[in-house]
Amino acid sequence: MRLLSVAIFVISWWIASIYLGSAKLPAPPEVLAAILTEAKSGALFVNLGATLARVALSFVLAMTLGTAIGYWMGRVRLADRLGDPWLILLLNLPALVVIVLAYIWAGLTEAAAIVAIAINKLPTAVVTLREGTRALDPALDEMAAVFAFPRGKAFRHVVLPQLAPYIAAAARSGLALIWKIVLVAEYLGRPNGVGFEIGVAFQLFDIPLLLAYSLSFAVVVFMIETAFVQPFEARLSRWRPRAA
């Protein structure tokens, strides 16, 4: 099924390139050739690697902080009241503003890029985890209290499994957001990475190169989704009765 949908994509691309002309939309072989050249020189892997490293770091940073803050805001009323205006501000702040400000204040550094990307993802993780924490079943908390579960055990076996779907949802949507933002951050202020190369290709009007990086990036995202995110979600919900 997946193969079929990929085939349909390639065929429609090919047909479109014939109509638009290869100056605007190069045909698949031309882009493939560009990918191969970049792969041979090693530049493709260096840039993909740089981008992936940024994604990984900012993802971990945002998820860890977002989960902790979201849990805290869901449990403690005062924290929720204090944090809520910040959350609304961050949720509605355009990614570009955060990135530009981070570069201005912290210089065109790696840390600035990673923090800026993490800040863009943070509020959605907080909101999702706050909802998850509010939905925790008090009946199970009481059970853990009567049976005198130690704190760590109660968190691991009672709380965490209830939060797991929310963590998975935050990870899923957060990853999608980060894939989008990381390229902007690279385009604006990093000397390598897929975003940087796309910026170069844009300035040179090198459309095969542009598409070569975009496609390689899309393939990597797709592989990570199927190899990690989906099996992780399946494992989390293995105790649920299967939906018909």
Partner: protein
């Protein structure tokens, strides 16, 4: 080891700011190994009382003195199992020190041996209740609290689980607090029966049943049941 309870009142304030009295005077003591049964009409405040005794609710007037530390094994009205852990893991999580032989015999008596690896979502209510009971007993509690453990089971199933509870209590006597609205449960399982009034609940009568559980004949049980029913009727 004894439980001394002296609650003078407990009230809730609802969303509209109105005060509702749930419990009035409730004073009793439970001795080591004694099974105290609380019988009262539905909604009279039995569960509220249980929550105070188990330390889940501290907002009341009066005093509950429990020996510390007190290991409480509780069967809630709904089984409250962890849906994401297997039957065996649910029991082991509450009772990390239970040994394999102990666990096997407990599962044997409760007819759960074939369900160890199942998840709670795959169990009927009757089975889930028995898992909750296994969990409560596996920790070798100092106090066993059973909140309507037989409610909404059909008569045959309830009778079987009642017999299993009796067997387990014979095997290892434990101070037990059983809450029910069913007189049969009371006369078959209790050493002492407390009749509760309607809301706000107070203790109307405390009736000891002298004969040990295992020695009670059907005739004895009918007789005690009649006496209890008369007291209930007199109480209105």
């Amino acid at each position: 080891m004894r439980l001394e309870v002296d609650i003078s009142s407990k009230a809730f304030t609802n969303a509209a700011g109105k005060r509702h009295d749930v419990l009035s005077k409730i004073a009793f003591t439970l001795e080591q190994g004694e099974v105290g049964v609380f019988v009262g009409p539905s909604g009279c405040g039995k569960t509220t009382m249980v929550r105070i005794l188990t330390g889940l609710d501290h907002d009341y007037r009066g005093r509950v003195s429990r020996p510390e530390p007190l290991r409480i094994g509780m069967v809630f009205q709904e089984p409250r199992l962890l849906p994401w852990r297997s039957v065996e893991d649910n029991v082991r999580l509450a009772a990390p020190n239970v040994d394999a032989a102990q666990l096997s015999s407990l599962f044997e008596v409760l007819e759960l041996s074939g369900h160890r690896a199942h998840f709670p979502g795959e169990l009927s209510l009757g089975l889930a209740r028995r898992v909750a009971l296994a969990r409560a007993l596996a920790i070798e509690p100092d106090l066993l609290v059973l909140d309507e453990p037989l409610v909404s089971l059909d008569a045959a199933l309830a009778a079987r689980l009642r017999a299993q509870i009796a067997t387990l209590l014979e095997g290892r006597p434990v101070m037990t607090l059983l809450v029910t609205h069913n007189l049969d449960d009371a006369v078959r399982l209790g050493d002492r029966v407390f009749l509760l009034s309607a809301r706000p609940a107070s203790i109307l009568h405390a009736m000891p049943i002298a004969k040990p559980r295992s020695a009670r004949s059907e005739a004895d049980i009918r007789e005690t049941r009649r006496t209890l029913a008369r007291l209930c009727a007199a109480a209105g």
